[in-house]
Protein backbone atom coordinates (compact mmCIF):
# COMPACT_ATOMS: atom_id res chain seq x y z
CA UNK A 1 0.00 0.00 0.00
CA UNK A 2 1.41 3.36 -0.92
CA UNK A 3 0.33 6.91 -0.15
CA UNK A 4 -1.35 8.88 -2.95
CA UNK A 5 0.76 11.61 -4.58
CA UNK A 6 0.54 15.19 -3.34
CA UNK A 7 -2.54 16.97 -4.62
CA UNK A 8 -3.83 13.84 -6.28
CA UNK A 9 -7.46 14.42 -7.27
CA UNK A 10 -8.12 10.66 -7.19
CA UNK A 11 -7.16 10.24 -3.54
CA UNK A 12 -9.93 9.13 -1.17
CA UNK A 13 -9.88 12.40 0.74
CA UNK A 14 -10.60 14.38 -2.42
CA UNK A 15 -13.17 11.92 -3.70
CA UNK A 16 -15.34 11.47 -0.62
CA UNK A 17 -14.55 13.90 2.18
CA UNK A 18 -13.98 17.22 0.39
CA UNK A 19 -17.02 17.05 -1.93
CA UNK A 20 -19.22 16.22 1.06
CA UNK A 21 -17.98 19.26 2.97
CA UNK A 22 -18.21 21.56 -0.03
CA UNK A 23 -21.70 20.51 -1.03
CA UNK A 24 -23.38 19.86 2.26
CA UNK A 25 -21.90 22.45 4.63
CA UNK A 26 -24.39 25.19 3.97
CA UNK A 27 -27.43 22.96 4.14
CA UNK A 28 -26.18 21.23 7.28
CA UNK A 29 -25.07 24.28 9.21
CA UNK A 30 -26.34 27.43 7.38
CA UNK A 31 -22.84 28.95 7.53
CA UNK A 32 -21.55 30.33 4.19
CA UNK A 33 -17.92 30.49 5.29
CA UNK A 34 -16.78 26.94 4.62
CA UNK A 35 -13.54 27.26 6.59
CA UNK A 36 -15.36 28.26 9.78
CA UNK A 37 -17.89 25.46 9.31
CA UNK A 38 -15.20 22.81 8.93
CA UNK A 39 -13.01 24.22 11.70
CA UNK A 40 -15.72 24.70 14.28
CA UNK A 41 -18.32 22.11 13.48
CA UNK A 42 -17.04 19.16 11.46
CA UNK A 43 -13.58 19.22 13.08
CA UNK A 44 -14.50 20.99 16.29
CA UNK A 45 -12.61 18.52 18.47
CA UNK A 46 -9.27 19.69 17.03
CA UNK A 47 -10.14 23.33 17.62
CA UNK A 48 -10.96 22.54 21.25
CA UNK A 49 -7.49 21.20 21.84
CA UNK A 50 -5.94 24.08 19.90
CA UNK A 51 -7.58 26.46 22.34
CA UNK A 52 -6.32 24.33 25.22
CA UNK A 53 -2.79 24.54 23.77
CA UNK A 54 -3.00 28.34 23.63
CA UNK A 55 -4.09 28.38 27.26
CA UNK A 56 -1.19 26.06 28.13
CA UNK A 57 1.24 28.44 26.43
CA UNK A 58 0.02 31.29 28.63
CA UNK A 59 0.23 29.06 31.68
CA UNK A 60 3.78 27.99 30.78
CA UNK A 61 4.93 31.61 30.47
CA UNK A 62 3.38 32.29 33.85
CA UNK A 63 5.06 29.31 35.52
CA UNK A 64 8.47 29.96 33.98
CA UNK A 65 8.69 33.71 34.37
CA UNK A 66 6.58 34.94 37.21
CA UNK A 67 8.47 36.13 40.28
CA UNK A 68 6.42 37.38 43.13
CA UNK A 69 8.63 40.07 44.57
CA UNK A 70 9.99 39.41 48.02
CA UNK A 71 12.01 42.56 48.49
CA UNK A 72 11.47 46.03 47.01
CA UNK A 73 13.92 47.19 44.32
CA UNK A 74 17.18 49.03 45.08
CA UNK A 75 16.01 52.45 44.01
CA UNK A 76 13.01 54.04 42.37
CA UNK A 77 12.99 56.93 39.94
CA UNK A 78 10.54 59.79 40.18
CA UNK A 79 10.26 62.58 37.68
CA UNK A 80 9.01 66.08 38.40
CA UNK A 81 6.55 66.80 35.60
CA UNK A 82 7.02 70.54 35.28
CA UNK A 83 10.78 70.87 35.36
CA UNK A 84 11.85 67.43 34.17
CA UNK A 85 14.10 66.79 37.14
CA UNK A 86 14.49 63.10 37.99
CA UNK A 87 14.88 61.97 41.58
CA UNK A 88 16.54 58.70 42.53
CA UNK A 89 15.17 57.52 45.85
CA UNK A 90 17.08 54.70 47.53
CA UNK A 91 15.52 52.01 49.58
CA UNK A 92 14.28 53.38 52.88
CA UNK A 93 13.77 56.94 51.65
CA UNK A 94 10.46 58.71 51.51
CA UNK A 95 8.74 58.38 48.14
CA UNK A 96 6.29 60.98 46.78
CA UNK A 97 3.67 58.38 45.92
CA UNK A 98 0.50 60.44 46.16
CA UNK A 99 1.77 63.67 44.71
CA UNK A 100 0.40 65.13 41.48
CA UNK A 101 3.68 66.64 40.43
CA UNK A 102 5.82 63.53 40.62
CA UNK A 103 5.37 60.49 38.47
CA UNK A 104 7.20 57.22 38.76
CA UNK A 105 9.17 56.21 35.68
CA UNK A 106 10.94 53.00 34.75
CA UNK A 107 14.68 52.66 34.97
CA UNK A 108 15.34 51.84 31.34
CA UNK A 109 13.26 53.80 29.08
CA UNK A 110 11.89 57.05 27.42
CA UNK A 111 9.38 59.68 28.58
CA UNK A 112 5.72 58.91 28.23
CA UNK A 113 4.33 61.00 25.48
CA UNK A 114 0.97 62.65 26.04
CA UNK A 115 0.23 62.67 22.30
CA UNK A 116 0.78 58.93 22.01
CA UNK A 117 -1.34 58.23 25.05
CA UNK A 118 -4.29 60.29 23.87
CA UNK A 119 -4.07 59.16 20.26
CA UNK A 120 -4.06 55.52 21.27
CA UNK A 121 -6.91 56.19 23.66
CA UNK A 122 -8.99 57.54 20.79
CA UNK A 123 -8.24 54.71 18.36
CA UNK A 124 -8.49 51.68 20.66
CA UNK A 125 -12.32 51.58 21.03
CA UNK A 126 -12.71 51.32 17.26
CA UNK A 127 -10.14 48.55 17.07
CA UNK A 128 -11.94 46.63 19.79
CA UNK A 129 -15.23 47.09 17.98
CA UNK A 130 -13.60 45.71 14.85
CA UNK A 131 -12.32 42.73 16.83
CA UNK A 132 -15.82 41.98 18.11
CA UNK A 133 -17.14 42.35 14.55
CA UNK A 134 -14.60 39.81 13.29
CA UNK A 135 -15.69 37.30 15.95
CA UNK A 136 -19.40 37.79 15.38
CA UNK A 137 -19.24 37.86 11.59
CA UNK A 138 -17.05 34.79 11.25
CA UNK A 139 -19.92 32.91 9.66
CA UNK A 140 -20.00 35.06 6.57
CA UNK A 141 -16.61 36.73 6.18
CA UNK A 142 -13.05 35.53 6.72
CA UNK A 143 -12.26 35.61 10.39
CA UNK A 144 -13.81 33.90 13.31
CA UNK A 145 -12.98 33.48 16.94
CA UNK A 146 -9.21 33.18 16.83
CA UNK A 147 -8.52 36.21 14.62
CA UNK A 148 -10.90 38.45 16.56
CA UNK A 149 -9.40 37.30 19.83
CA UNK A 150 -5.86 38.10 18.67
CA UNK A 151 -6.91 41.58 17.52
CA UNK A 152 -8.60 42.24 20.86
CA UNK A 153 -5.51 41.06 22.75
CA UNK A 154 -3.36 43.29 20.55
CA UNK A 155 -5.45 46.33 21.50
CA UNK A 156 -4.84 45.57 25.17
CA UNK A 157 -1.11 45.26 24.46
CA UNK A 158 -1.29 48.62 22.68
CA UNK A 159 -2.81 50.22 25.77
CA UNK A 160 -0.04 48.67 27.88
CA UNK A 161 2.67 50.03 25.57
CA UNK A 162 1.36 53.58 25.31
CA UNK A 163 0.55 54.00 29.00
CA UNK A 164 2.63 52.47 31.80
CA UNK A 165 2.57 48.81 32.50
CA UNK A 166 1.48 49.53 36.04
CA UNK A 167 -1.63 51.49 35.13
CA UNK A 168 -2.70 48.73 32.75
CA UNK A 169 -2.07 46.10 35.41
CA UNK A 170 -4.32 48.05 37.74
CA UNK A 171 -7.13 48.00 35.17
CA UNK A 172 -6.81 44.44 33.89
CA UNK A 173 -4.97 42.52 36.56
CA UNK A 174 -3.26 39.23 35.92
CA UNK A 175 -5.84 37.40 38.04
CA UNK A 176 -8.67 38.57 35.79
CA UNK A 177 -6.88 37.69 32.58
CA UNK A 178 -5.94 34.20 33.73
CA UNK A 179 -9.48 33.53 34.89
CA UNK A 180 -10.92 34.81 31.60
CA UNK A 181 -8.57 32.54 29.69
CA UNK A 182 -9.73 29.45 31.54
CA UNK A 183 -13.36 30.63 31.22
CA UNK A 184 -12.96 30.72 27.46
CA UNK A 185 -11.77 27.12 27.31
CA UNK A 186 -14.57 26.20 29.74
CA UNK A 187 -17.21 27.78 27.48
CA UNK A 188 -15.97 25.70 24.56
CA UNK A 189 -15.78 22.41 26.45
CA UNK A 190 -18.98 23.25 28.29
CA UNK A 191 -20.92 23.60 25.05
CA UNK A 192 -19.66 20.18 24.04
CA UNK A 193 -20.60 18.71 27.40
CA UNK A 194 -24.03 20.33 27.16
CA UNK A 195 -24.59 18.57 23.87
CA UNK A 196 -23.51 15.35 25.57
CA UNK A 197 -25.99 15.89 28.39
CA UNK A 198 -28.80 16.54 25.93
CA UNK A 199 -28.36 13.12 24.43
CA UNK A 200 -25.94 12.99 21.49
CA UNK A 201 -22.19 12.88 20.88
CA UNK A 202 -19.75 15.37 22.33
CA UNK A 203 -19.83 18.63 20.31
CA UNK A 204 -22.85 17.65 18.21
CA UNK A 205 -24.57 21.01 18.19
CA UNK A 206 -27.81 19.87 16.63
CA UNK A 207 -28.91 18.74 20.08
CA UNK A 208 -28.97 22.37 21.20
CA UNK A 209 -32.26 22.68 19.32
CA UNK A 210 -33.88 20.95 22.29
CA UNK A 211 -32.85 23.85 24.47
CA UNK A 212 -33.36 26.89 22.24
CA UNK A 213 -36.27 25.67 20.09
CA UNK A 214 -34.93 26.49 16.64
CA UNK A 215 -34.41 24.08 13.77
CA UNK A 216 -31.47 21.66 13.88
CA UNK A 217 -29.59 23.56 11.17
CA UNK A 218 -29.86 26.90 13.01
CA UNK A 219 -28.87 25.18 16.25
CA UNK A 220 -25.58 24.18 14.64
CA UNK A 221 -25.02 27.75 13.48
CA UNK A 222 -25.62 29.06 16.98
CA UNK A 223 -23.40 26.39 18.47
CA UNK A 224 -20.59 27.55 16.20
CA UNK A 225 -21.11 31.15 17.37
CA UNK A 226 -20.99 30.07 21.00
CA UNK A 227 -17.69 28.29 20.68
CA UNK A 228 -16.21 31.14 18.63
CA UNK A 229 -16.98 33.43 21.56
CA UNK A 230 -15.21 30.98 23.87
CA UNK A 231 -12.14 30.84 21.61
CA UNK A 232 -12.01 34.63 21.21
CA UNK A 233 -12.21 35.20 24.96
CA UNK A 234 -9.50 32.66 25.71
CA UNK A 235 -7.11 33.97 23.06
CA UNK A 236 -7.48 37.65 24.02
CA UNK A 237 -6.88 36.92 27.69
CA UNK A 238 -3.85 34.72 26.96
CA UNK A 239 -2.26 37.41 24.75
CA UNK A 240 -2.31 40.02 27.47
CA UNK A 241 -1.27 37.45 30.10
CA UNK A 242 1.82 36.43 28.12
CA UNK A 243 2.65 40.08 27.46
CA UNK A 244 2.55 40.96 31.15
CA UNK A 245 4.88 38.11 32.08
CA UNK A 246 7.25 38.58 29.17
CA UNK A 247 7.86 42.32 29.17
CA UNK A 248 8.46 42.75 32.86
CA UNK A 249 10.44 39.50 33.32
CA UNK A 250 7.77 38.26 35.68
CA UNK A 251 7.88 41.07 38.17
CA UNK A 252 4.98 43.16 36.78
CA UNK A 253 6.84 46.24 37.84
CA UNK A 254 8.35 47.95 34.83
CA UNK A 255 7.73 47.40 31.18
CA UNK A 256 8.23 48.63 27.63
Amino acid sequence: MDFPAYGDPESPASQHVSPYYIEKAIEDTAVPNLVTAVLADYRGYDTLFETAVIFTAGLACFILLRRFRREPPQFRLYRHLDTGVTLIIEQGGKEPTDSDEFRRIDSQWVPYDLIMQKAVGLVVPFLQLFALYVIAHGHHSPGGGFQGGVIFGATLILIAISNDLRSTTRRISETISSKLASTGVLIYAGTGALCLLLGANFLNYSQLSKLIHVSTVMARSHGILLIEIGVGLAVAAVMIWIYYNLVSAGRHDEGL
Binding site: P142, G144, Q147, V150, I151, G153, I161, M239, V247, A249
Partner: protein, 81 residues
Amino acid sequence: MIWQFDLIILTLVVISGIAAISIRDLLGASVLFGAYSFLMCLAWAAMGAVDVAFTEASVGAGVSTVFFVAAVFRTSRRSKD
Protein backbone atom coordinates in the same frame (compact mmCIF):
# COMPACT_ATOMS: atom_id res chain seq x y z
CA MET B 1 -2.28 32.53 -10.44
CA ILE B 2 0.16 35.16 -11.69
CA TRP B 3 3.38 33.21 -11.54
CA GLN B 4 5.71 36.20 -11.57
CA PHE B 5 4.07 37.55 -8.43
CA ASP B 6 4.39 34.20 -6.68
CA LEU B 7 8.02 33.92 -7.71
CA ILE B 8 8.90 37.36 -6.30
CA ILE B 9 7.13 36.62 -3.02
CA LEU B 10 8.86 33.26 -2.73
CA THR B 11 12.28 34.78 -3.35
CA LEU B 12 11.71 37.44 -0.73
CA VAL B 13 10.48 34.83 1.76
CA VAL B 14 13.66 32.80 1.37
CA ILE B 15 15.87 35.89 1.60
CA SER B 16 14.18 37.26 4.71
CA GLY B 17 14.16 33.82 6.35
CA ILE B 18 17.87 33.29 5.87
CA ALA B 19 18.65 36.86 6.91
CA ALA B 20 16.55 36.61 10.05
CA ILE B 21 18.57 33.74 11.45
CA SER B 22 22.01 34.96 10.44
CA ILE B 23 21.85 38.58 11.53
CA ARG B 24 23.68 39.52 14.75
CA ASP B 25 21.50 42.38 15.95
CA LEU B 26 18.53 40.75 17.67
CA LEU B 27 16.19 43.71 17.27
CA GLY B 28 16.80 43.62 13.52
CA ALA B 29 16.13 39.90 13.59
CA SER B 30 12.74 40.43 15.21
CA VAL B 31 11.84 43.03 12.59
CA LEU B 32 12.89 40.55 9.89
CA PHE B 33 10.63 37.92 11.47
CA GLY B 34 7.81 40.43 11.18
CA ALA B 35 8.64 40.96 7.50
CA TYR B 36 8.74 37.19 6.96
CA SER B 37 5.33 36.86 8.56
CA PHE B 38 3.92 39.57 6.30
CA LEU B 39 5.35 37.94 3.15
CA MET B 40 3.88 34.58 4.14
CA CYS B 41 0.53 36.33 4.58
CA LEU B 42 0.81 37.66 1.01
CA ALA B 43 1.78 34.22 -0.29
CA TRP B 44 -1.26 32.60 1.29
CA ALA B 45 -3.56 35.34 0.03
CA ALA B 46 -2.16 34.84 -3.48
CA MET B 47 -2.96 31.12 -3.16
CA GLY B 48 -6.53 31.90 -2.18
CA ALA B 49 -6.41 30.93 1.50
CA VAL B 50 -7.91 34.13 2.90
CA ASP B 51 -8.66 32.92 6.43
CA VAL B 52 -5.10 31.74 6.93
CA ALA B 53 -3.77 35.04 5.56
CA PHE B 54 -5.98 36.99 7.97
CA THR B 55 -4.75 34.91 10.89
CA GLU B 56 -1.11 35.32 9.93
CA ALA B 57 -1.53 39.08 9.48
CA SER B 58 -3.14 39.54 12.88
CA VAL B 59 -0.70 37.26 14.69
CA GLY B 60 2.45 38.42 12.91
CA ALA B 61 1.82 42.13 13.00
CA GLY B 62 -0.07 42.37 16.24
CA VAL B 63 1.38 39.97 18.65
CA SER B 64 4.40 37.98 17.53
CA THR B 65 6.64 40.96 16.72
CA VAL B 66 5.71 42.65 20.01
CA PHE B 67 6.63 39.50 21.97
CA PHE B 68 9.99 39.28 20.24
CA VAL B 69 10.75 42.95 20.90
CA ALA B 70 9.73 42.55 24.55
CA ALA B 71 12.02 39.54 24.91
CA VAL B 72 14.95 41.41 23.30
CA PHE B 73 14.26 44.34 25.65
CA ARG B 74 14.73 42.09 28.64
CA THR B 75 17.84 40.29 27.41
CA SER B 76 20.76 41.59 25.41
CA ARG B 77 20.49 43.17 22.02
CA ARG B 78 23.53 41.55 20.50
CA SER B 79 23.60 37.86 19.75
CA LYS B 80 26.37 35.94 21.47
CA ASP B 81 27.29 33.75 18.50
